[in-house]
Subunit: 324 residues, 2 copies
Amino acid sequence: MKKIVQCVPNFSEGIRKNIIEKIVEPLKNKEGFKLVSYESDQDYNRTVVTIIGDPESMILPLVNFFEQALIHIDMNHQKGQHPRMGAVDVVPFIPIENMTKEECIEIAKKLSAQISKKFSIPIFLYAQAATQKNRVLLPSIRKGEFEGMEEKLKNEIWKPDFGTSNIHKTFGVTAVGVRDPLIAYNIDLDTDDIEVAKKLAKTIRKSSGGFQYVQAGPAYLKDRGHVQVTMNILDYKKNPIYRIYETIKMESLRYDVKVTSSEIVGLCPYNAIYSSLKYYFSSNFLNIPKNLSFNDIIEQAKKYLNLRDFEKNKIIEYHFKEKL
Amino acid sequence: MKKIVQCVPNFSEGIRKNIIEKIVEPLKNKEGFKLVSYESDQDYNRTVVTIIGDPESMILPLVNFFEQALIHIDMNHQKGQHPRMGAVDVVPFIPIENMTKEECIEIAKKLSAQISKKFSIPIFLYAQAATQKNRVLLPSIRKGEFEGMEEKLKNEIWKPDFGTSNIHKTFGVTAVGVRDPLIAYNIDLDTDDIEVAKKLAKTIRKSSGGFQYVQAGPAYLKDRGHVQVTMNILDYKKNPIYRIYETIKMESLRYDVKVTSSEIVGLCPYNAIYSSLKYYFSSNFLNIPKNLSFNDIIEQAKKYLNLRDFEKNKIIEYHFKEKL
């Protein structure tokens, strides 16, 4: 059975288009995996790359990708709104199919070993790959950012997992890790009142007593002229999309506000949608077919979850399955 | 402003009616507080008493209540299904009006000091009154039960907060503490399939990823011939009743099961009902009056939450407010 991982490297350049192309180049048109997207944010001065496929096939191209970032980014001159500590800032691996967490960690280590050796870049293992408690959360590793990292590495407790305690003078340091897939999900409201979105976010998010695996907040969409509840779902099996969507619909009634649509940002697993559709089929006394094709999934998700801008390429499996 | 606390002493006799009456006697018809109820469970061999009112007025009657339990219960012969460590097993104080948590802790200490001195009973402060981390949760104090307590007290970390490390040979030991009000709430389903109740409980309870302040499980009601989702709501402000009720309604659709009614076991704060009614009024575009009388609250709660067996005396405030 084919092993499939998703890898989402973030690098610290989001403005200079020619440089971005050069850095991403080693990941294009490779055997064994697919470059799904690379999206740059100018304010953040940062680009998020998504590749999906066979993990072993990714290693060498990722090393070459690091090399391009090393050549073209000097962190001493890099400025942006997003906190960062390296030219390639963070490389999370996400197990998708026929991969255990442990196998993902092995891949993360293999990549880290090659990079630290070849380019003298210090590397921290983070999230599920972390070797120490203080390295589980990325922000605690990244604290101090590039500028504070030379000093930070002198502290024994911040000895990198790979490489020496000497920061790379132009590249900085990188975190490589393993995490579960998360879903970036937003629910649109037909109001421009941010307070309503704030109150609704509080009803569902963990930090205010809501669902355990939901991080949520309010957002105003300037272009569209309405607010939304914007969230990360950290475990869609325990906190399925439909439950959150229906809870927001229920809660919004009290403000005389309507849920007009919802959206998934980035990729999401087929099963995250399928399992929510199962709820809607069964509550309408319908049997759901054992497999829905990608086209069916899109159509039904638009119907029941009012998903907007939802296309096949948002489904992770679409990028490596022959058909569904 | 009148200070109001609720106190819910549990004692280890639930079978012998004449003994139960003798133990409860000192709490009857006293100035300053009201004996709201005492409910015995024969299988548990345990009685739960509820008193509400002025905290200072409760102290002497509670000392006398302890004395009666001491006289009439010998823990060497007491058997029942409920774990226990003393003739009076646990005495929680719950701040209701014009009382801070700190003031409640003072009352708990005052009572503990008198009892340990007068009757040589070792006392542990627990929950919000706990002086050590391992004393926050009652089960960890109670572990070993009456029979294991003599040995347990020899361990320095289980030195009682009041009294000596010598267990009282017939009474055992007691825990006195302070906790927030909790609501025991159940939602009835028109099915006898316990699996459905189990699945629904999982959608709302913290331990399965649901709401932070909900502990829930399935129960089958033999007499009534249907199942229910039975729960404790530990913080009704953060996890309001209506939200849980509506979530269960929404989730039950997928099993083709109906929510037929719900019930509150024991007492609940006026505001727990009022704040949920606010949701239903506003989602029906109605203004809710600033105060609803006890009668109004009952009527509306029956209408919107399908509360069964809900009477005025289930509302805490009914027991000390002139009228509402």
